[in-house]
Structure formats: structure tokens, C-alpha cells
């Protein structure tokens, strides 16, 4: 058993991290702090979860969010998907183990993974709407959010949701406000089986190793830790009894990474775009210098007058000087 975080003192004190600890800030450059804070992590042990949704309730409660009353479609998920109010969601899947022919009820607490390399932050166009602290927490800053939905396209886990009320994006904050005053996340606090624990990332890995050894001793050969390297590791990790098949846990990504489309969109396309516009502008300038402007001369005006006069006088005269005739055959097709 992992010792739960002791309740911190209620005496007011300075927050444990803040602006000065940012290692990434969307659409901005930051100078990373000289000293990084100890990386934190939340560990979710799917083998211990009983699907009681205490974490879901605690999340609504702590963040003072209320979701709409939904409809029952005969499945356990409630609501049916993450929403701007439900920042975490228990996902249930029934899986028949082909080796044992046992029906396994796999329950996974879904929510932001707090990626070390966050796709949401990479995609975000609004300066400071998404920030990453040196302890690993990725947070959305609502006053800077413009509600464009780019974070949704950037995220490899399909997590952020845009509120129809205030048009800003919402996701799990890893209870950054609680962690800042020495508390653990609300969900971890509420979990009755300690399936959710919180601490430093190293502690969590150690604790997970113990859990995995235990699971293996019980016949779960493929038990393992989900800390996907494709996104640089995550600050929310899972212990899975079938770590070789994360997708059976309601579609947990096997090898998540930021989509190459997002890399192109946020990388080469920008430079190619600026280069193209710059090139066309430059060519225009060069052309105007080399070729000069095209001017209508007095002779042009006189030619036009003669042409019009001839037409109005009965079209009896031949073509004007130096140009092909009227019926020059340059448009042969029927109208």
C-alpha cells in the first residue's frame, strides 16, 4: 500500500510552483527555470479499480462543475464521453481473454495524461493558453484561451473539450491548484481502493513496479506500466494487467505520439508559407523595377478612337495599323 499524502497544514503559505516554473508556454518562448521541480505523477492501477466513480464525483466536486443529466443507453459510462464538465471518465469494457476464456471487466479512468511532450500545447495558437510546469503538470489557462479547438487536434489521446458556455477548452488539471498547496489530486484522495495514487514520478514508478510484480505472481504475465515514450512519457500513468494490449482498455493508444500532420502544420508548413508569400511579393517588386509599369499612351487612345469611328461609320475600312483583323479566327468555336 502506498502511504496516502498527509493532509498539509491549513496555514496559508506561498504556492509551491507558479509562473516562474514554466517550461513550456503555448505560442511563446520561455526561458526554462534553472532548477526543475521534482516531477510528479498520478498512477492509476486498473487492476485495483472497482469502477465506483468516486473519482469522477470528487472531480466534479473539487472543480465545482456540474454535468448535464444524461440518458442511460445501457452502458456503465456516464456521461458517454468526456465533456467540458467531466474532466475524467470511467470507461468500461468487457473483454474475453482468449487464453483463459474468462470475461474480464476492464475499467480505465480516462482523462488528460499530462504528456511530457504535450500535443495540445504544440497546436495551441494563443499565447499562454496552455502551460507546462517543470513538475510536469500541463494546465489550460482559461483567460488566454480563444476556443479554437486546435488542442483537440494536437492531443494524441482526444482529451480536451470546448465549453459551449464560455468557449474555452477544459481538461484535467492534475489538480494543479491542490498540488500547489501540497495536496494530492481530488480523485486520488477519494479513491477507496487506492487505485489512484499520487506522488513524485519516481515514487510512482517504484510503486508500480511492486504492483506489477504482484500481478505477475498472480498469472498476469503481461502486466506492466503505461508511460508511453512516444510523448516523452506521461505524468499520469497506468498499471495495466495486459500492458501488451492497451487498446483493449476502451481504446487506449498503443504507441501514442503527436500526429505527423500536426508536426507539419506547426512546423514546415509555416516556413513554407512565409517563404511562398515572401517570394511572390519579392517577384512582384522585382518585376515592377525591371519591367516598369504598363502605361496607356496617347497613341493607344487615338487608335481606339479611330477603331470606334470606323465601326460607327459602317465598318467599311480594313484593320487598323499593325494589328490583325476583326475576324482573326482566334475564337473559332460556336457560341
Amino acid at each position: 500500500m502506498f502511504p496516502p499524502l498527509p493532509n498539509p497544514s491549513t496555514r496559508p503559505g506561498p504556492p509551491r510552483f507558479g509562473e516562474q516554473d514554466l517550461i513550456r508556454r503555448s505560442a511563446s518562448e520561455v526561458t526554462p527555470p534553472a532548477v526543475r521541480q521534482t516531477a510528479v505523477a498520478k498512477l492509476i492501477d486498473t487492476s485495483k479499480c472497482i469502477g465506483c466513480k468516486a473519482c469522477q464525483s470528487a472531480c466534479l466536486e473539487w472543480n465545482d462543475l456540474r454535468d448535464e443529466v444524461g440518458v442511460n443507453t445501457g452502458v456503465y459510462e456516464n456521461p458517454h464521453d468526456l465533456t467540458p464538465a467531466s474532466l475524467t471518465l470511467m470507461r468500461f469494457s468487457e473483454w474475453e481473454n482468449p487464453e483463459t476464456l474468462n470475461l474480464e471487466w476492464l475499467i480505465r479512468k480516462d482523462g488528460c495524461m499530462h504528456c511530457e511532450d504535450p500535443g495540445c500545447l504544440k497546436a495551441c495558437p494563443a499565447p499562454g493558453a496552455i502551460v507546462q510546469y517543470s513538475n510536469g503538470i500541463v494546465d489550460f489557462v482559461h483567460e488566454n484561451c480563444i476556443g479554437c479547438g486546435y488542442c483537440i487536434k494536437g492531443c494524441p489521446f482526444n482529451i480536451p473539450r470546448i465549453s459551449k458556455t464560455d468557449h474555452t477548452a477544459y481538461k484535467c488539471t492534475l489538480c494543479s491548484d491542490r498540488v500547489a498547496v501540497g495536496q494530492g489530486p481530488a480523485c486520488a484522495k477519494a479513491c477507496p481502493t487506492q487505485a489512484i495514487v499520487f506522488g513524485t514520478k519516481d515514487e510512482m514508478k517504484q510503486h508500480a513496479a511492486g504492483r506489477i510484480a504482484d500481478l505477475k505472481s498472480r498469472g498476469y504475465d503481461q502486466a506492466g506500466l503505461y508511460d508511453p515514450p512516444g510523448v516523452g512519457g506521461t505524468h499520469v500513468m497506468y498499471v495495466l494487467h495486459h500492458a501488451d494490449k492497451p487498446e483493449i482498455y476502451s481504446g487506449l493508444a498503443k504507441d501514442p505520439k503527436i500526429s505527423p500532420l500536426v508536426d507539419i502544420w506547426k512546423g514546415v508548413s509555416r516556413w513554407a508559407g512565409f517563404a511562398a508569400v515572401g517570394a511572390v511579393a519579392a517577384i512582384s517588386v522585382v518585376h515592377s523595377v525591371v519591367a516598369g509599369r504598363s502605361r496607356v499612351s496617347r497613341a493607344d487612345e487615338e487608335n481606339a478612337e479611330q477603331l470606334v469611328d470606323r465601326e460607327l461609320a459602317g465598318r467599311s475600312v480594313g484593320p487598323p495599323r499593325g494589328s490583325p483583323g476583326d475576324g482573326d479566327g482566334s475564337r473559332e468555336h460556336a457560341p
Binding site: 495558437p125 479554437c148 515592377s288 487612345e301 478612337e305 477603331l307 460607327l312 482566334s330
Partner: protein
């Protein structure tokens, strides 16, 4: 046959007034209003879109009252642009159809670019380059509204998958760049050929301008005028 052939380059509202200089009505007030509203929405779209394209341009959101408003207004401007261009399209699609002259014109493009327009074949109401701008602008606006609707999160967020949205936003931003390039060429062309701006500002051009740049159109207008008698306007 020759009667009908002669009028292919004439758009509704075109008229020729003999005199010194010859004055030609090229764009009606309706057409000019349509053009400038469309142009304004395109410029505003480019500015509001570019604001989200790269952080160094995010300051452009100030023009629209902040990031939230920029995000909200941009797609509506897009709808406005689309409607505006549909208007321009139905006004001018006919005079922008391909003709064999366009081929011979293109073959002599170097003469045009080096300012020797007198060596070019006579062109009608629009030359090959103008027609290209017309069709490509239309094509890109279709692509922009198509991809724009896919990434219009506020109303259509649930209509597509995340992967489709990723593809759409990439196409949208790349095609925006191409469109901005087309606009630069379009504006440059209008400034480069002196006397062209008055066409879209006042609706009129001189006979000399038409002689120089759109002689076939001038011939048709004159012939049309002759057929109808010098007092009745064409069409």
C-alpha cells in the same frame, strides 16, 4: 453567326461612349460593390487567419477585438466571402471561359511579362492570367469553405473525426497561403497596368486602355455599338 460571335466578350452592363477619349463602362455599380465587399472579406479573413497561423502574427487579433472574437468572426467572414464570390462568379463566369486565344497568349507570356503587350494576340474582356485568377480563386474558396466548416468547432465540432480535422486544418492553412499569393498577384496586376484601378473604382476605362489590354473586347463593343446605333446602350 458573326453577330453572335462578336458579343461573346461583352458582359451585361458593358457600354462604349465614343469621344476623346473613348470611355467604356466596364463594371456596373452592383459589380463594384460586390467586388469590394468580397475583397474586404478576403483581406479580413487573411488577417484574422494569419493571426492564428503563427504566434508572431497573433497581435493581429487586436484588430478584431481579441483572440476569442477573432476565432468567432473568421468563419462568418468566410461564409460572407463565399456568398460574395458566388455573386462575382455568376456575373463573370461566361467571359472567363477558355478560348483558343488563351493558348497563344500563354505561349507568348514572356512578351507580356517584359511589357511588350503589342506583340501579344488580341484578348477579350479578360486575358489568360485574369481568367486563371478567376477560376483558381473560385476553386480555393471552395476548398477553404469545405475545410473551414470541418474545423469550425463551435457548430460542426461533432461532424468529423479528430484525424479529419487535422487534415482539414493543414489543407486550410496551406491553401490560405496559396490564396494570399494569388491575391498579391491580382493586386499587383491591377496596379501594374495603369488605368485598371479606375475600372473597379469608378467602373470606367478609356478606349486606349481597352485597345492596349483587351482589344478584342473593344472591337466587339464598337461593333455592338454600331449594330445598335450609337445611342442605345448594349444589352
Amino acid at each position: 453567326m458573326s453577330e453572335a460571335r462578336r458579343r461573346e466578350e461583352i458582359a451585361p452592363g458593358d457600354d462604349l461612349h465614343p469621344g476623346d477619349p473613348v470611355v467604356i463602362d466596364r463594371y456596373t455599380t452592383d459589380a463594384r460593390v460586390n467586388h469590394w465587399l468580397t475583397a474586404a472579406s478576403l483581406v479580413l479573413l487573411a488577417l484574422s487567419g494569419l493571426a492564428l497561423f503563427h504566434p508572431s502574427l497573433y497581435f493581429l487579433t487586436a484588430l478584431f477585438g481579441g483572440g476569442q472574437l477573432t476565432r468567432a468572426i473568421h468563419p462568418w467572414l468566410g461564409v460572407f466571402l463565399f456568398v460574395g464570390y458566388v455573386g462575382l462568379f455568376f456575373r463573370f463566369w461566361k467571359v472567363n471561359l477558355w478560348t483558343p486565344t488563351d493558348g497563344s497568349w500563354l505561349a507568348k507570356l514572356h512578351e507580356f511579362l517584359t511589357g511588350h503587350e503589342e506583340n501579344m494576340p488580341e484578348v477579350g474582356r479578360y486575358n489568360f492570367a485574369q481568367k486563371t485568377v478567376f477560376w483558381f480563386m473560385g476553386l480555393f474558396i471552395l476548398v477553404m469553405i469545405g475545410t473551414g466548416l470541418v474545423i469550425w468547432d463551435q457548430y460542426f465540432g461533432s461532424w468529423s473525426t479528430v484525424e479529419q480535422k487535422r487534415i482539414a486544418v493543414l489543407i486550410h492553412s496551406m491553401c490560405a497561403i496559396v490564396m494570399i499569393c494569388i491575391v498579391i498577384v491580382h493586386v499587383y496586376g491591377a496596379l501594374w497596368a495603369r488605368g485598371t484601378m479606375t475600372a473597379m473604382l469608378k467602373g470606367r476605362v478609356t478606349g486606349g486602355w481597352a485597345w492596349r489590354h483587351h482589344r478584342k473586347w473593344l472591337r466587339e463593343l464598337a461593333a455592338d455599338k454600331a449594330d445598335r446605333g450609337s445611342t442605345t446602350p448594349a444589352e
